[in-house]
């Protein structure tokens, strides 16, 4: 207010000074106004101490030729949603997706915190992420603790509302139960290099697939990962990585059925080791993604498990070596509009379960290489809204093709979203 007054005075003076020769006074006034302006500008924004809050609203209308309620990936654990993770396709008809509340802020000069709470359509409240992260360790080190999306692979740490397709790649469903968000600690180090070289280690409770929550001291899951990345000229950026994940499962349950269709309760106890190789390349003319851009992304998974299997309490030795991969391409052909294609494939590999055969557990022990092709087109009026159409031909179930069509919306309210690579 004072500043405006002063400006007005300066103007009045300038007007009255016309014809007279008082440039010195004007200059003094100008300097005083500058000084006051500087003071005014230095005042922090009034909401500077409030956390960033954003809310994600999602929903879909879907049609599928097979019942999503009895979705399974033949030949793989988990074979149903209750083994942990969210693996089934979108429900038929109209349905609400997860509504996410994201709150984040610097806590003090040393820590940052973030909460991602998810309201599920069946009125549950889930904590997807709740973590602290250090800001001041320096020398490239960052420690994270709490519940967080693991940094293994590429897509795992991308929030679901920022995915390029409505659902997770089959390999994520089969090997990580959709995505891995364990309770634990992560230590990450960035090398002092021009190329991005990131090395990280995680230890966790192992509360979810591929682990299983057990009442134990120590860690149920640990992981190591490394990522390298950089630019290829002005238009292309890339990142590639290798991750290793080790989990111990004890009585990790799953539902199956025998050849006669009778339900079978299965459980696995033992070790699970997973390798993930990931690569992503993004291209935009001169590095400006505003008008057109292209994104290529792929990940390869290889898992071996060994331990004890029980089917309706009958035990057997179990070993498996299985693999899977997906590759996807998303192209923005004009502002707001993108098209994408994704191909998924899982390899049954070798599975031995003592004397058990597919007659005892038809989902787990039927040799089948699931595949899926998905096509999507989305329209994003702004950074805060997106509507997507997705078609998929899903051969996750042996001998059955599931044709899926869905329309999905994603809206984001509140704080400006982060432009994650």
């Amino acid at each position: 207010m004072y500043r405006i007054l002063l400006c007005a005075m300066a103007l009045a003076m300038a007007a009255s000074a016309r014809g007279q020769n008082v440039p010195d006074e004007l200059e003094q006034l100008r300097q005083r106004v500058d000084h006051l302006e500087k003071q005014a500008a230095a005042k922090p924004a009034t909401n500077a101490f409030n956390p960033d809050i954003s809310l994600i609203l999602q929903g879909s209308v879907a049609r599928s030729s097979q019942n999503p309620d009895d979705y399974q990936i033949t030949g793989f654990m988990p074979s149903s949603a209750n083994s942990g993770g969210e693996v089934a396709p979108a429900p038929r008809g109209f349905s609400l997706g997860e509504s996410e509340l994201v709150i984040s802020s610097n806590i003090d000069p040393y820590f940052r915190g973030q909460l991602v709470a998810s309201f599920t359509p069946d009125n549950q409240l889930e904590v997807e992420e709740a973590f602290f992260q250090t800001l001041a360790l320096g020398r490239g080190f960052t420690l994270k603790g709490g519940r967080f999306l693991s940094s293994v692979g590429y897509q795992n740490q991308i929030h679901q509302h920022a995915w390029d397709f409505q659902d997770a790649p089959l390999a994520y469903k089969a090997f990580l139960g959709g995505r891995l968000n364990d309770d634990g600690l992560q230590l990450k180090w960035l090398a002092p290099t021009e190329l991005l070289v990131e090395l990280g280690a995680e230890v966790g409770r192992g509360r979810n697939f591929p682990g299983s929550d057990a009442n134990r001291n120590g860690a149920g899951l640990w992981a190591l990962y490394g990522h390298v990345g950089g630019d290829l000229g002005e238009s292309t950026a890339w990142r590639s990585g290798l991750s290793y994940l080790r989990a111990s499962a004890s009585d990790r349950g799953f539902d199956d059925h025998d050849a006669g269709g009778n339900p079978v309760t299965g459980a696995f106890s033992g070790r699970s080791a997973l390798w993930i190789a990931d690569a992503i390349v993004k291209w935009a003319p001169r590095g400006d993604a505003t008008v057109t851009n292209l994104k290529l992304q792929g990940e390869y998974f290889r898992r071996s498990e060994s331990g004890d299997l029980t089917l309706n309490s009958r035990p057997a030795d179990y070993t498996s070596r299985q693999s899977g991969w997906y590759a996807q391409m998303v192209y923005q052909f004009m502002p707001r509009w993108r098209v994408g294609y994704r191909y998924d494939r899982l390899g049954y590999g070798s599975v031995s379960a003592g004397s058990f055969t597919s007659a005892d557990a038809s989902i787990l022990l039927t040799a089948h290489n699931p595949t899926r092709g998905s096509l999507m087109m989305d329209w994003s009026p702004t950074e805060f809204s997106r509507v997507r159409v997705q078609l998929a031909r899903d051969n996750s179930r042996a001998g059955v093709t599931d044709n899926q069509v869905l329309v999905q919306y994603i809206f984001s309210l509140g704080a400006h979203g982060a432009h994650t690579f």
């Binding site: 940052r112 960035l190 990345g229 993004k282 400006d288 502002p335």
Partner: protein, 296 residues
């Protein structure tokens, strides 16, 4: 472990200059260069042909943030989508918000167009005010003054050097500002249409009039309906030209210019936006020359 370290040293940064600086935009890289000379190793996270609102925190930027002693950004939420990610992922304590190693130009300049209410129904508005502040030379002067102090505070050994180089720059800059203001005087009152409100400070400084923007609302791509409306408006109140920054896509500007029978002027917007705009001085020289050409 030893082989790992050896491998890393192969890709390690070249011998250190006194201060490693990551500028968010080319204009701040140019300013740091003026003040620091060869005592600083400065790079810009963006080029003049990239939209600074829409950058992603890509791996090469995270690596550069990791190694920076100082990060110089515009602030006022221009980089809200990516600079906070660079900070939180860098593992670098020096460049965190609130530390001396994070400098925001908007902190020492009074911003134009501070909205009295903020609602995204108005588009992707800049809630702190218009952040595209570098196209008024008096703002550059203020930022330079603060940056000289900041660089000296972080790197005390070179502080006298920064001060003397900085003072010499400021003297040349003030002289040039007087010259630009004289040269630009005929532009006063000229009405133009722009793409995004990213040239507002330039127009305000030169006394030009911004008659409209090709974007219907901040951050939204131009639509035919909006351009048609703008064309009608220009029939009542003609503009001298459609002026756009080098990074803004050309088609909408050409569409309108052709129908309104006025030229398109492409301004460098920042250092590197045209072949002529090689540093801050030539950025202003070239911008003025391109606007003054309209009067010939």
């Amino acid at each position: 472990m030893r082989t790992l370290l050896a491998a890393l040293s192969l890709v390690a940064l070249p011998a250190h200059a006194a201060l490693t600086v990551l500028a968010c935009e080319p204009e701040w890289a140019a300013l740091v260069k003026e003040i620091g000379g060869d005592k600083v190793n400065v790079t810009s996270a963006t080029t003049a042909l990239q939209d600074p609102h829409r950058i992603e925190a890509r791996p090469s930027l995270i690596a550069r943030a990791r190694n920076a002693d100082l990060m110089v950004c515009t602030g006022a939420q221009l980089e809200i989508g990516w600079a906070p990610l660079l900070q939180s992922q860098s593992g670098n304590a020096k460049i965190q918000a609130g530390q001396p190693g994070y400098f925001e130009a908007a902190g020492v300049v009074s911003l134009l167009e501070r909205p009295t209410s903020v609602d995204r129904a108005q588009g992707d508005v800049h809630p702190a005010g218009n952040p595209h502040l570098h196209l008024n030379p008096r703002n550059i002067e203020r930022v330079a003054g603060a940056l000289i102090e900041r660089m000296g505070a972080i790197d005390a050994r070179e502080a006298p050097n920064y001060r003397s180089r900085g003072e010499a720059f400021l003297k040349r800059w003030r002289d040039a500002t007087v010259r630009w203001e004289k040269e630009g005087a005929p532009l006063k009152g000229m009405g133009v249409v722009t793409y995004h409100k990213n040239l507002t400070y330039l127009f305000a400084w030169l006394g030009m009039r911004e008659l409209g923007t090709l974007e219907p609302k901040p951050g939204l791509p131009p639509s035919t309906a909006h351009l048609t409306g703008l064309l009608e408006q220009l029939q009542r109140e003609p503009a001298k030209a459609v002026v756009r920054a080098a990074y803004n896509e050309p088609r909408a500007a050409e569409w309108l210019a052709e129908r309104a029978h006025i030229p398109v002027v492409v301004l460098p917007f920042t250092v590197g936006g045209t072949d002529q705009a090689k540093d801050l001085f030539t950025l202003y020289d070239d911008s003025l020359a391109r606007l003054l050409a309209l009067l010939k």
